[in-house]
Every structure is written in C-alpha cells, then in structure tokens.
C-alpha cells in the first residue's frame, strides 16, 4: 500500500474530517489504488520541463484600483451564516 493508516489519520486532521475505523480501512485501499495508478507518471521524463499552472500562462490580471459596488451587501452575506451576533459571525469559544 502506498499510504499508511498513520498518514490517513494525520491527513484527516489537516482536512478537518474524521473517519470511522471501517472508513479508514476503505481509504487505505482506495487511496492506495489511486496513488498506484498515479505513479505511472514516474515513467515520464520531466527533467527540465516547465510547470503549467494555468493553460493560458496568465499572470497577475490587474484591474483599476477603484471600489465597485458588490452584488451582495453585508447584510445579504451575514444572512447566510448559521450564527450571527451584532453583525458578526458567531463561533464557539476559542480561548
């Protein structure tokens, strides 16, 4: 297997996800299969090849630095939040 149980536990924490033991077993197998398939990329000689992050090689698309009216205002956006208090997002106590 190309991925271990420890790696899965670490990744799930990084991903803000949790899994049952059965799910972890399934992930070991499924992610392992996918990574095995992906490892065929090792056959390709990519020495000195440039990276493609964006197909049109776009970089830094600028616009004028002026304030534009947004489609949604503060109240529209706050209305989407499950918990709001005094025009602020409410979260569980952190400290």
């Amino acid at each position: 297997m190309s991925i271990t149980r420890e790696e899965i536990l670490h990744l799930s924490k990084m991903s803000s996800l949790s899994f049952s033991d059965a799910e972890i077993e399934g992930l070991e197998k499924d992610l392992g299969n996918i990574l095995d398939y992906v490892s065929r990329l090792d056959e390709l000689d990519t020495e000195g090849v440039e990276l493609t992050y964006q197909v049109f090689k776009m970089q830094n698309v600028w616009r004028e630095d002026v304030l534009e009216k947004a489609e949604a205002d503060r109240d529209d956006l706050l209305a989407l939040a499950p918990a709001v208090k005094d025009h602020q997002l409410k979260v569980p106590k952190i400290l």
Binding site: F19, R40, L41, T46, V55, F56, P82, P92
Partner: protein
Amino acid sequence: MKIADKDTRAVDLVRKALDKAKEFEEYNVFISLNDEALKKAEEIDRRIAAGEKVGRLAGVPYALKDDFLSPEGKTTAGSKMLENFRSPITATAVAKLETEDAICLGRTNMDAFSHGASTENSYFGPTLNSRDKTRAAGGSSGGSAVAVALGIVPFALGTDTGGSIRQPAAYNGVIGVRPTYGAVSRYGVIAMSSSIDTVGCFATTADDADLVMGVMAGRDEADATSLDDFWSAEPENKKLRVGVIKDFMNSADGEVLKCTNDYIDKLKGLGHEVSEIEMPTLKYGLAIYYVVQSAELASTMMRFDSIRFGRQAENVKGLDDLYTRSRDEGLMMENKRRIMLGNYVVSTGLYEKYYLKAQKARTLLMAEYDRAFEKFDVLLCPTTPSTAFKLGSKTGDPMEMYLEDLMLASPSMAGLPAISVPAGETTEGLTVGVQLVGPQCSDRSLLKLAKETM
C-alpha cells in the same frame, strides 16, 4: 428550439416543460423546480403582445445544474452541506441567459460538488439514465443531460472539469459542449478545480448549443481567467483534417468502436480528410488530472467551514469540533476521499513527487496536442470506453469510477474545447458519443462539424 413570439406563447413552452418534468419525475432529474418560471413566461408574453423587443432566447425553458448561483431557489451543489443555501448573487452565465429572456425551469441533480461520474454521489439520490432506468445517467452533470435527453427542456447548463458534461452527454444521446477554458465566466459557479473548471451546455442540435454558448461566452471582469469573446467569429467553411486517436480506439468496447467507426465513415463521406494519429502522452492524462484536480479541490473545499454559510453541526465542543463535525455531516464520502487525496499530493515531502510532477507532465501533454494540431484540425476518439453502466456497479470502487474520464481528462488539462456528439446506439438501445477536440478557441468549428454529421 422553439422561441416565444407572436405565434408561440412563452407560457405554453414553460407549461409543456413543467408537464414533462412531472411525467418523468421518477428519473430524479431535478433537485428543485423554479416557482417563478410561469410568472416570468407571462411577463415575456405581455412584452411580446405589447410589441416590445425580447431576447434571443425569449421564453425558452432551460435546466440549470445545481452548482450555478442565483437567488431563484436554493443552490445545493447536490450536497447536504448546502441543502438550504440561498445565494444573494447570480452567476454571470445565468445572468446572460436571463438577459436574453431564457427561463430557468429548475435546478438539476449532480454528484455532490461535481465529485463523481454517475450522479449517484448526490445527497438527493441518483438520476436514472434516459435510455435505461437501471443504468447511471453519467455525471457529474447527469440531471442536466437527462433533462435534455427526455425532451423536458431544449437545453441545459452543466459544468465540466474532467468530463462532467461530455460523459453524461454520451450516455444519454445528446450534444455536450465543454468549451475552451475561460470561454464562459465561472463567476457564481461553485468551484471544483479552478484551473480546469468550465461552464458548458447540453442540447439536441448543434445550432442550439452554438446559440446558447454564444450568449454565455465572453470576458467578465469578475472572472480573471475569462477570455475575450471569440464566439462571434464565424468558423471557416472548409474540409477538415481529422486525426483519429489510435491509443484510445484500442481501449473502446466492440459496439462503441463500431459506432465510432461508422461516425468516421460519415466524416469521410462528407469529404473530410481522416487519418490515424498516435498520442502516447494521453495515457497519462487521467493521472495528471487526478493529482491536479484533487489538489485544487482540497483547497476550494476548505471554504466549507460551516461558519460563513452552509449547514452547521449542533452541540459541538469547540471550533475544531465544529469544523470537523459539520464537514463530516455535510459532505459525501467521495468529497472527503478527494479532499484527502488532494491534501496528500501537496503535503511536505510528496509535493514534488506528485503535484509538481503532474504539472510538468501537463506541459508535456500540451506540447503533444500542439504537435498534433500542426497536422490536424480536429482530434477524434470515443467519448467513453463503454456505454452507460448499471447503477451501483462502480460505486464500490472509486478507481473504477475515475477511469470513466480516461478519454476526457487530457483535453481538460490542456484547456481545449471538447464536445461529445451523438454517434448512434448499441443493439441494447444505449447511446454512444464521439468526442471531438480542437485547438483552443476552435469551439465553433467543432460544433459546425458536429452539425454536418447529425
């Protein structure tokens, strides 16, 4: 498609579509229907009667994949996480259709967050194939493909990252258009993988698809990657050099191969010049796709923190528990699997091996397409290796499901336009699609060629 005018009432077009939506309810095409549709149709009829100018798509009902934001109804993305999400903003593609007076009939079913190739991975249950109810619709834009195939609406919107429009189009016998990356603004569309996502459509005729894409295409300040409108340029009237991708012909089933060969004969009969081409890098396309796609979506999926929007878990113990429990409850297993894969391939020590390697391989893949387009105007292969599979037959093995995109992932990674065109059916009555791929911004030539063959 029928457009409302003095003789055709918009109300009748919408009523007929609503009746059909009801008739085919068991296919589970729609997640929600638009309560405003009839009212909008009445307004268009009133304007026509008053002699006012109406849009190019006046009164035409269309189906909207449920990952396009608009204030009409809820935008669920096929997920529990967004089960009750109402957007205050409108996706540019939708706004442009509305400007031309098209009417959204309803929002269609999809694999949650577009993660899937069968629409079985929806929180709202699977959509059934239009030809055989025991088979999958394909996906992730399965609901939209079936809405058009069943004749409920003349066109429907979808999104295509690694094949989510083309594969369900093939499985339901309709045209599916994935345009050049950036042709249509992605503003207001729930992102999956930002360097690969596109907005496209399903239709039954090439002319309808061309009209709809033309309405949606063009630069949008709200999407930095959107391109200046190239859709207004007419495609050249000439015989095309068509390259048949030998590597993929070898991977297709007997009946799919037969339909593809019949399609090739048709192209030859029309005077196009057809020959074979070998493209050995394409067999790496799916591997490149799964690395880049998952890496990008692991990042975009982190926005679902359940604090700013989305469904929040109850009775949580602290902030970490809130994030984790909300995501556990709101996401499907496939969403989680892809997030895990994506975070794995960009993790310390593995980033070079997987992510950088794939982005370099992507450069090689694009170079191979560049070489192919020196000799050919269009590249052709089947859309899928086989026909629509039985419901449930691939849900237990993610890799098996991922292989659905074998022939579709490469053009996606290169940002190329790719369309699936109906190419007949098997003895069982299942539909087969042929994929046409062209250089960037050659979308209309592909549709013109499709039109000649239909």
